[in-house]
């Protein structure tokens, strides 16, 4: 069975800043397809544009160029009632479980809001859905009468998840949903998300800087660097060996709980270049240990190296398809 695209991004671009010289292109013409029922893990370091890409995908941040298609329909400039009902299909879970909940409102009202606003539910019908959801996310329906400050970080993240799921979305962008949580609580919330993805058949864009977390929740991995996607691979393929030198360095930098830390560390020299002034050619060439002259002048395209695996590199670490 061929997978069905749910979200298709075409040359999606997001730019920030006004003065012509300092225009930061946070997302640089990204082409990306997210298939129905999959969880795509989007990884990269701070400033790579992964959050901006996630927000732009559901138009929480408006893109400055390119197209977004949802189930084949162009939603890039969709407005009014039509967009409001479409938006209810596309939800976000945010990192900060403290800042994203209105402290004055009761949990039940916070969770019910998208149902009333976008799905036209009556208050009593919404109440029923909210009760079920609070049970499902492990808070229990009695939590509905309380306010956000009465809950811990992990519990607030469960509230954020319940709110995002209230309008029964088909697609959820989860932006670092467990990064602010302690290890023992993080594991609980990762398990909850896995259950919800499975039980509700959700499609998810899961954004994280933590490769360990992504490995346990994503089916495919996309790696971003300076606003571009530089590698896309099936989860197991990526963790068996990234095809892009940046992915390789990123994976080797993660401290592991191994008895003998003999694994080779690839220490990247230098820092992330200024996103307002990215290097010419391959944007990673300033830190790449395999760099050749061509990388300094010619920007590589995102090419298919194997089935379902794409890489933006002149010298990928696995052979190009058909060149063996």
């Amino acid at each position: 069975m061929k997978p069905t695209p749910l979200i298709e991004l075409e040359k999606l671009r997001v730019e920030f800043g006004g003065s012509a010289g300092r225009r930061v292109r946070a997302v640089r013409d990204v082409d990306l397809t997210i298939y129905e029922g999959e969880t795509l893990g989007l990884v990269g370091e701070s400033g790579c544009g992964k959050s901006t890409l996630g927000r732009a995908t559901v138009r929480v941040t408006e893109p400055t160029g390119g197209r977004i298609r949802y189930r084949g329909a162009d939603i890039t400039t969709m407005r009014g009632t039509l967009f409001r009902s479409t938006r209810a299909d596309l939800q976000m879970v945010f990192q900060d479980p403290f800042g994203s909940l209105n402290p004055r409102r009761k949990i039940a009202d916070i969770v019910a809001e998208p149902l009333l606003r976008a799905r036209g539910f009556s208050a009593s019908a919404a109440r029923e859905v909210v009760d079920d959801l609070l049970d499902q996310v492990g808070l229990g329906r009695e939590a509905g009468g309380r306010r956000p400050h009465e809950f811990s970080g992990g519990q607030r993240q469960r509230i954020g998840i319940a709110r995002a799921l209230a309008p029964s979305p088909r697609f959820v962008v989860a932006d670092e949903p467990v990064s602010a949580l302690d290890v023992s609580i993080q594991a609980q919330v990762i398990n909850l998300l896995s259950d919800l993805i499975r039980d509700r058949g959700l499609t998810m864009l899961f954004i994280s800087h933590d490769l360990g977390v992504v490995k346990h929740i994503a089916d495919r991995i996309a790696v971003m660097y300076l606003g571009e996607i530089i590698e896309i691979a099936a989860r197991d393929d990526f963790f068996a060996g990234p095809a892009h030198p940046y992915g390789e360095a990123l994976l080797s930098s993660v401290p592991t709980l191994s008895f003998s830390p003999s694994r080779e560390r690839i220490e990247l020299s230098g820092e992330l270049p200024d996103p307002a002034d990215p290097p010419p050619g391959c944007t990673f060439h300033t830190r790449c240990r395999y760099v050749v002259d061509k990388c300094r002048t010619e920007a590589p395209l995102l090419r298919t190296v194997a089935d379902g695996r794409q890489v933006r590199c002149h010298l990928p670490l696995i052979p190009l398809k058909g060149s063996e």
Binding site: Q186, A187, Q188, H209, K215, R263, E271
Partner: protein, 333 residues
């Protein structure tokens, strides 16, 4: 290697909060040996930061009650006056904080901040201090130290600022460096550079480092010994290999199992610890972890188990009364 530098005895730290007195550190005995990296591990509210800050009197105040002893070079730093503490802080014992942007003076060039720390404890000419400052910035891996010395904190990246903090910490070649989550705010590729730097300091200068972290991967990477904290107490301590690979306390086991690992196969469900850590002023009479412990039985609620050698090696201590003689709790690594 076995010479004890810093000896903590019965340390307690309590804070006045609206609900009463919060026992942040509820009696800790711990020693730091010359040249070792001791990792203090725990989740939010476990008391690891409160413990480390009280080593050099950084959390004194009208609402803090600190008891016990911290012995360093024959002096008790808990009883020491502000003046005596100031002569120790930054000279013999230096602290590196997680948030370098908040810890650095935003209006002063970073080179001057390093030089100032040198001149606080040693009367040398400004010019000489500046030169030494640039040398230190080079030593912590800043590519162009002369240029970086002239920068203000906001002009540097997070990784660079953290290196500046470490350079300030090293300014007077301290015997002890307390590093409170020094890499938590950093990206992994930068974190790996900073961890390597800490290892190099330990090797080249014989600096003993107290590394406060919640990241068990970081612990595995750099620590010699580990102390795991829960609800203000150490629940397990031993060498890195003992604690991480032969854990004795169910909390340590639970933490290790909760980590989503990049190595090894992906699992469908992480074996999470149920419930949340204790954060309030009220503490149970028995083992603080018992309410979350999968193995707890009635006896766990009776009294707080002492920290002692039980089933581990001779210096591998834990605070769990459960019978582990038949590998009843064995977890597969």
């Amino acid at each position: 290697m076995t010479e004890t530098l810093l000896e903590i005895r019965g340390l307690t730290v309590e804070f006045d909060v609206p609900a009463g007195r919060l026992p942040a550190v509820a009696g800790v005995d711990l020693s730091l040996r010359r040249g070792e990296i001791l990792a203090l591990v725990g989740e939010s509210g476990s008391g690891k930061s409160a413990l480390s800050m009280s080593l050099v009197g950084l959390n004194r105040g009208p609402h803090a009650h600190i008891g016990g002893e911290v012995l360093f070079g024959g002096h008790d730093l808990v009883a020491a006056g502000e003046k005596e503490l100031r002569s120790v802080r930054g000279k013999d014992i230096a602290v590196v904080f997680q948030d370098a942007l908040a810890a650095l003076n935003p209006t002063q060039r970073v080179g001057d901040q390093v030089a100032e720390m040198i001149r606080t404890h040693r009367k040398i000419p400004k010019k000489q201090a500046r030169e030494r400052a640039a040398g230190l910035l080079g030593e912590v891996g800043i590519g162009n130290p002369a240029q970086a010395a002239r920068a203000y904190p906001h002009q540097l990246s997070g990784g660079m600022r953290q290196r500046v903090m470490i350079a300030i910490g090293l300014a007077n070649d301290p015997a002890v460096l307390i590093a409170d989550e020094p890499t938590t705010a950093l990206d992994v590729t930068i974190q790996s550079q900073v961890l390597r730097l800490l290892k190099r300091l330990q090797a080249d200068h014989g600096t003993a480092i107290v590394l406060i972290t919640h990241d068990l991967g970081v612990v595995a990477e750099v620590a010699d010994r580990v102390a795991v904290m829960y609800a203000g107490r150490i629940v397990e301590s031993g060498t890195r290999d003992e604690v991480l690979f032969h854990p004795q306390h169910p909390y340590t086991m639970g933490l290790l199992n909760s980590v989503p690992r990049v190595d090894g196969p992906a699992v469908a469900r992480l074996p999470a610890i149920a419930g949340s850590p204790l954060t309030g002023v009220a503490r149970p009479p028995g083992c603080a972890f018992a309410p979350r412990c999968a193995f707890a039985h009635a006896a766990c609620g009776d009294a707080i188990p002492p920290l002692m050698q039980r089933y581990g090696g001779s210096a591998h201590l834990d605070r769990c009364v459960l019978d582990r003689s038949r590998d009843a709790l064995e977890v597969t690594a």
